[in-house]
């Protein structure tokens, strides 16, 4: 009998691998760790079975000796024992107290005894007489769906039990949010897709292709291995595109041939040829998809296609998440190796980047996040297995696949760039804190996006759910911490050498709290001072004690007030009660106020706009303005021109004596006592008679007018 049992257990053990139970498949423990230490475990099982032959502790659960991936109460793996884990087992207390045992037994008895037999149930099962019905029932039963009433499925029931109301609400809110986001995204995509302009699409496609090409080239330089895979992908996409689009009767040529085909034999033949080719090509694709290797790939493509782009974003979004990046341990590698080979490229890329990551976050966070990741991958796989059979032949690739692929590539590239840039930033520690601070934001969003609107299906998922809620609470904290840690260097007083950008506002705090080197004075002042100084000193001490507590804030406030005061004021021309009822407590309507408000034009920017520590008075100095020139003299058209001519001072204070004299010589100097004849018409005209007026001597030849010159010439000639 014992031998029989042993044989049974062994059998169960060997069967375990083939067990294709859906929830079981989802279980990480079931599928993941099998490949590695299969033999070892089997050996242990055997030993156990043999040891249990004496019959004492048959039901003893296998002890776990190796470190498990998940050490948490939600994820107890049942790999050691041959039996399945039941929820009831877990809910039970570890030790049943002896006092309650009797009561319990009684209760159990009561429970097992059914007061009323339910013949209906049996009847229904019996009712399924036709093979179809039987099959359906079978299926329902297998999936643990309610057969009788539209009651809750066991899973749902369990979920109800497992979750508190608040948790459920939270969870629902999250899901709603995610769903909403997804729907927005979908709507957007639909809208974009709906655009009829062929040109637009062409341009978009072209742009995408170009971008992808560029990125690919970049990738080629940076990471040849990844580039090769990308290349393969591109090739595949090209093939798919070719198979899907060409050799159908949708092309221009094909259409023209279709018209001709009715009359032209050749055309008909050509068409047929084309169709045959098309068939051949598509057939080939199917054949390829059946083969093991291709399957995953196409699946993946489909998986990427079928859900929406949100999922895709999710997939790739773990790139910018610094936590995910750094959590590169052997475990993730294991997980990666167990996953489909097609899913590898990205994790690999991560690893490449990850291996460069220096610091490791705290272990807890790491574990949490890893679990997160695992769960996601699990879900994906479950989805795969669900979708696999129906989706296999269903979806042919459409043109959008190309787009999606290219987008994928774009995203991947971006991720890599992000990584690189982050690394650069890390190397140039804390020079640009803003950029770093921005990044945690998507990180915060991600966990929400990651959760797909999906029903919990298995118990483990349920448990995970609970954990998730717990994690969601947990997660923001490290982010906040990160922010703080990033902010602190910003607040930290910088060295005075640190150069500020011009555009950057000058930080007042920095300005005033710069750590300046202290002087090592040769002669340190002696402290002892006279009595009358002491009083002052005391005051000073008090001042020092209270120094700088509110100085900056006060100053900023003052500046704000000054800025406000200097702003041009709007003119409000509303007449309350005009055109409407007026009176106490009645205010003119907003519309009216808006209509009659004359907005003042914005003045020129303040001089102290970028100088935080300065308030410059923008008021016009009228007293000075009274002394300034306010009318442009004749030949000048712009005040700059005139300003240039008056910039040189003429006074003797600023000039040498000689220069001063020269600058101040009058245009015309008359000899004292000489008679100056009045001007005659001849003087003005060109034909002047003898004019020996020596009283006028030209001193400043530069200022001679042309007329004078002419006259001078004339007179000299004469």
């Amino acid at each position: 009998m014992t031998a029989n049992r042993l044989a049974e257990s062994l059998l169960a053990l060997s069967q375990q691998d083939e067990l294709v139970d859906l929830p079981k498949d989802c279980l990480l423990s079931g599928s993941e760790d099998e490949g590695d230490n299969d033999g070892e475990r089997e050996h242990q099982k055997l030993l156990e079975a043999i040891s249990s032959l004496d019959g004492k502790n048959r039901r003893k659960l296998a002890e776990r000796s190796e470190a498990s991936l998940k050490v948490s109460e939600f994820n107890v793996s049942s790999e050691g024992s041959g039996e399945k884990l039941v929820l009831a087992d877990l809910l039970e207390p570890v030790k049943t107290s002896s006092s309650l045992a009797t009561v319990k037994k009684q209760l159990n008895r009561v429970k097992s005894k059914k007061t009323v037999e339910l013949p209906l149930n049996k009847e229904e099962i019996e009712r399924a007489r036709t093979p179809l019905e039987q099959e359906i029932f079978n299926l329902l039963h297998k999936n643990k769906q309610p057969v009788a009433d539209p009651l809750l499925t066991p899973v749902e029931k369990a979920s109800l039990q497992a979750m508190s109301l608040e948790e459920a609400k939270m969870r629902r809110a999250e899901l709603q949010r995610a769903r909403a986001l997804q729907s927005y995204y979908e709507a957007k995509a639909r809208r974009e897709k709906k655009i009829k302009s062929k040109k637009y699409h062409k341009v978009v496609k072209k742009g995408k292709a170009k971008k992808a090409l560029k990125e690919f080239e970049q990738l080629q330089k940076v990471n040849p291995a990844a580039a090769l895979e990308e290349l393969e992908k591109i090739e595949k996409a090209r093939m798919m595109e070719r198979m899907s689009l060409k050799h159908q009767n949708s092309g221009k040529w094909a259409k023209s041939k279709a018209i001709m085909a009715k009359y032209d034999l050749e055309a008909r033949q050509a068409m047929q040829e084309q169709l045959a080719k098309n068939k051949e090509l598509t057939q080939k694709l199917q054949v390829a998809s059946e083969s093991e290797e291709e399957e995953g790939g196409t699946e993946e493509v489909e998986e990427l296609l079928v859900p929406d782009v949100v999922n895709e974003v999710q997939m790739n979004a773990d790139g910018p998440n610094p936590w995910m990046l750094r959590s590169c341990t052997s475990d993730t590698k294991e997980a990666a190796t167990q996953e489909d080979p097609e899913q590898l490229p990205e994790p690999e890329a991560h690893e490449v980047s990850e291996s460069e990551g220096e610091e490791r976050p705290v272990a807890e966070e790491e574990i949490l996040l890893r679990e997160f990741e695992e769960r996601r991958s699990l879900r994906k796989r479950s989805e795969l297995s669900q979708d696999a059979e129906p989706a296999r032949s269903q979806e042919t690739k459409d043109s959008s696949s190309q787009e999606v692929l290219s987008e994928l590539r774009v995203l991947a590239q971006k991720l890599k760039e992000n990584d690189q840039s982050r690394k650069q930033k890390a190397s140039s520690k804390g020079t640009i804190p803003q950029v770093q601070r921005e990044e945690p934001a998507p990180e915060e969003e991600e966990p929400l996006l990651l959760q797909r609107p999906e029903r919990v299906q298995t118990l483990e998922e349920l448990e995970e759910l609970g954990k998730e809620c717990f994690q969601n609470k947990e997660l923001p904290r490290p982010v906040l911490e990160g922010q703080q840690s990033e902010r602190t260097p910003n607040n930290r007083p910088d060295a005075p050498k640190e150069k500020k950008k011009k555009e950057q506002m000058i930080d007042l705090q920095n300005l005033l709290t710069t750590q300046s080197p202290s002087v090592k004075s040769l002669a340190v002042p002696t402290i002892e001072e006279l009595e009358d100084e002491e009083e002052r000193n005391q005051r000073q001490m008090i001042k020092e004690a209270f120094a700088g507590d509110d100085v900056i804030r006060d100053f900023l406030k003052e500046k704000r007030e000054a800025v406000e005061a200097s702003k041009p004021k709007d003119v409000d021309l509303t007449l309350p009660g005009w055109g409407e009822w007026g009176g106490v407590g009645l205010k003119p309507s907003a519309k009216k106020r808006r209509r009659f408000l004359i907005k003042a034009p914005e003045g020129p920017p303040r001089k102290d706009k970028n100088l935080t520590n300065v308030i410059i008075n923008e008021k016009r100095n009228i007293h000075t303005a009274a002394h300034q020139v306010r009318v442009l003299p004749y030949p000048f058209t712009h005040h700059w021109q005139f300003e240039r001519t008056i910039q040189t001072p003429i006074g003797s204070t600023w000039n040498t004596q000689r220069a001063f004299q020269k600058l101040t010589t009058p245009k015309v100097v008359t000899k004292p006592g000489h008679i100056i004849n009045p001007i005659k018409a001849e003087d003005v005209g060109y034909r002047s008679s003898s004019r020996s007026d020596l009283s006028v001597i030209q001193r400043n030849p530069k200022r001679i007018t042309t007329r004078h010159k002419k006259q001078l010439k004339k007179s000299s000639v004469d």
């Binding site: 005075p496 007042l508 300005l511 005033l512 710069t514 750590q515 300046s516 202290s518 002087v519 004075s521 040769l522 002669a523 340190v524 002042p525 009358d532 100084e533 000073q540 001042k543 120094a547 700088g548 100085v551 100053f555 003052e558 001089k607 100088l611 520590n613 300065v614 308030i615 008075n617 008021k619 007293h623 000075t624 303005a625 002394h627 300034q628 009318v631 030949p635 000048f636 058209t637 005040h639 700059w640 021109q641 300003e643 240039r644 001519t645 910039q647 040189t648 204070t653 040498t656 000689r658 220069a659 020269k662 600058l663 060109y686 030849p701 530069k702 042309t706 010159k709 002419k710 000639v717």
Partner: protein, 658 residues
């Protein structure tokens, strides 16, 4: 005089016309070319001229030699291609080894140039351009003259240089006194005045006189060089601050209650009761304003020439006891207990600017003589140097062990800080550079805590007032070595002082002109200008200066199609654009054709004969005759001008006259 810097400019070909239109400046080295053009031989007349010029030439050479001796950096701007062996030969046969005017260093000339050429002007008319050119030429000329006169600044600033690796701060006063000559050594002294408390002190603008006031009422003024006491009184009241007015004859003392003014005999001239509880005094010499900061928080400007209070401004920041003036623009800087420094002008009720400098209160403020840097020290024990050229940002910061209670700048930009009973002096690289706070240039320990600091103008001396009296320290390189004898002459007699006083009063700058930019007067009041323009447009109903947009003429035969209209418009637009660009690019005056007609008249003639009606052969004959006549006239003119210019034109020789 135009010799030196002119060649630097490339004269554009088109400018020739413009020049010929004016009277062509004649250079004496061009003598040869003109006679050859005339066809005359360059023989005897040239010699004659040379003979006339000879004595002057010699003088020239003499001075030039002198200029060679002075070790100023000289940049020969142009090879002396005008060297004419013939003309340089004098009667004795000796040759002038340095003919022509002395070369001037470009940098020195640049120093005196005031026109800001960085700003591009909008395209201007020919007339405007000529005015601009004249202004620029004048500036150049005057700056060259000023640069030449730098030769007269014979003195050089002193300095202290440690032997390799030696810290100058370790050199004590005794060492310096030992090293310098007796006259300078006499400038280091100590006045032991322990009885009347810590002293404030002030040097007169000439740097010859020193006034000091002790906390316990001791006021004295003396000629500190000769140590001749002018007056010594006890005002029987606490003295907060003391300051000379425009000359050493008047003395303002801020006493416990009111502001008093004494003359150099110690006679009280005024008691100004409107300025009460004054803590600090500052005198603005060009405006004749005495600025007082009071305990009541008022900044009062007193015009000492007419005895009126120009402005009394409420700083609204409590007790004022930190004040200094900006010597560049006469703006008063006040330090407040909330860490700000405010800049004041009597023309404005509010501060011109407010700068947040320290976390604690401001203890001392000083502004250097160029008005570029401001040093502040605060209760946070920091000493900062701010840039005052628009940015008001700290250039350098230093934490001092006890913080500086007093600050002062010297004329050459040395910064002194009084910390307790120690005085630290920092020096910069040159005159225009801020003092570097890394290493003190000099330190000195006094017998008591510092209460007042000032560098003596035109002397390498720092006066320190402390509780133990007055100390006069030697600080090599502190003062400006050359003084302007007409402006502030330390050696002036009484008569000269009186003369200067009258002149200074005549040149008094109105108080309302004080503003942050002292060159604001050289600017047009743009707001009023715009306002006036707008009003004019409103009055007239149209803009008289507006250029009407180009309207292509209507044409026949389909040439007035829209396309062609647009094309024509575009053409005009492009043309304007091109011209604009051209002038912008060159920055040269636009050529104006002096004569548009194609007649063979000389470009030099101002009016063209072809304006006359051409009707018959007689006219033609007449025309040709006229032309001949004109040509003759021109030639004669040329000659005359030459003759005149040799006498009247300023040449290299006019250097001797001034």
């Amino acid at each position: 005089m135009e010799t030196a810097p002119k060649p630097g400019r490339d004269v554009p070909p088109k400018k020739d016309k413009l020049q010929t239109k004016r009277k062509k400046p004649r250079r004496y080295w061009e003598e040869e070319t003109v006679p050859t053009r005339d066809g005359a031989s360059p023989g005897p007349p040239c010699n004659k001229k040379n003979r006339e010029l000879r004595p002057q030439r010699r003088k020239n050479a003499h001075i030039l030699k002198k200029s060679r001796i002075s070790k100023k950096p000289q940049v020969p701007k142009k090879p002396r291609e005008w060297k004419n062996p013939e003309s340089q030969r004098s009667l004795s046969g000796a040759q002038d080894p340095f003919p022509g005017p002395a070369p001037v260093s470009v940098e020195v000339v640049q120093k005196f140039c005031r026109i800001d050429k960085s700003r591009k002007l909008p395209r201007s008319k020919a007339k405007t351009r000529s005015r601009l050119e004249v202004a620029e030429a004048e500036e150049e000329e005057t700056s060259i003259k000023a640069a030449r006169s730098e030769l007269l600044l014979a003195e050089e600033p002193g300095f202290l240089e440690g032997e390799d690796g030696e810290d100058t701060a370790k050199i004590c006063q005794a060492d310096i006194v030992e090293a310098v000559d007796i006259a300078s050594a006499a400038k280091h002294f100590d006045l032991n005045l322990r009885q009347f408390g810590p002293y404030r002190l002030n040097y007169s603008r000439t740097g010859r006189h020193l006034a000091f006031g002790g906390r316990r009422g001791h006021v004295a003024a003396l000629d500190w060089v000769t140590k001749k006491l002018m007056c010594e009184i006890n005002v029987m009241e606490a003295v907060r601050d003391i300051r000379f007015l425009h000359s050493e004859a008047l003395l303002a003392v801020a006493q416990n209650r009111w502001l008093h003014i004494y003359d150099n005999q110690g006679i009280e001239l005024h008691c100004i009761r409107r300025c009460d509880r004054v803590t600090r005094l500052e005198f603005l010499p060009f405006h004749f304003l005495l600025a007082t900061a009071s305990e009541t928080g008022f900044l009062t400007y007193l015009d000492v020439s007419v005895g009126k209070i120009v402005a009394a401004l409420n700083a609204r920041a409590g007790r004022l006891d930190v004040m200094s003036q900006n010597p560049y623009n006469a703006v008063i800087h006040l330090g407040h207990s909330n860490g700000t420094v405010s800049l004041w002008s009597p023309a404005m009720k509010e501060p011109l600017a407010k700068i947040l400098c320290h976390r604690g209160g401001v203890r001392a403020v000083a502004v250097d003589s160029t008005g570029t840097y401001m040093a502040t020290s605060g209760l946070d024990h920091q000493l900062k140097i701010f840039d005052l050229r628009g940015t008001y940002q700290p250039l350098s910061t230093r934490t001092l062990p006890h913080g500086a209670g007093h600050l002062a700048f010297s004329q050459r930009g040395l910064l002194v800080a009084g910390m307790g009973d120690v005085v630290n002096i920092w020096a910069g690289q040159g005159k225009a550079s801020p003092p570097s706070l890394e290493q003190p240039y000099l330190t000195h320990r006094l017998s008591g805590p510092v209460h007042g600091l000032q560098f003596c103008p035109f002397e390498d001396v720092l006066g320190v007032g402390h509780s133990g009296g007055i100390t006069s320290m030697l600080v090599p390189g502190a003062g400006e070595p050359n003084f302007d004898g007409l402006e502030s002459n330390p050696y002036r007699s009484r008569k000269q002082r009186q003369e200067w006083e009258v002149k200074a009063l005549l040149e008094k700058v109105p108080a309302e002109l004080i503003c942050l930019d002292p060159r604001a007067l050289a600017k047009v009041d743009v707001i009023s200008l715009e306002q006036g323009k707008k009003e004019r447009i409103e009055r007239l109903g149209y803009d008289p200066e507006a250029k009407s947009p180009f309207q292509p003429k209507p044409k026949q035969k389909g040439r007035s199609s829209t396309a062609s209209l647009v094309k024509r418009k575009r053409k005009v637009m492009d043309e304007e654009h091109r011209v604009d660009e051209y002038w912008d690019g060159l920055g040269l005056p636009q050529a104006t054709p002096s004569c548009l007609c194609l007649c063979p008249c000389q470009p030099a003639t101002s009016h063209c004969p072809c304006v006359l009606p051409l009707s018959g052969p007689q006219d033609k004959v007449r025309q040709s005759l006229q032309q001949q006549q004109q040509q003759q006239q021109q030639q004669q003119q040329h000659k005359e001008v030459k003759a005149k210019s040799t006498g009247a034109r300023p040449s290299a020789l006019d250097r001797f006259v001034h």
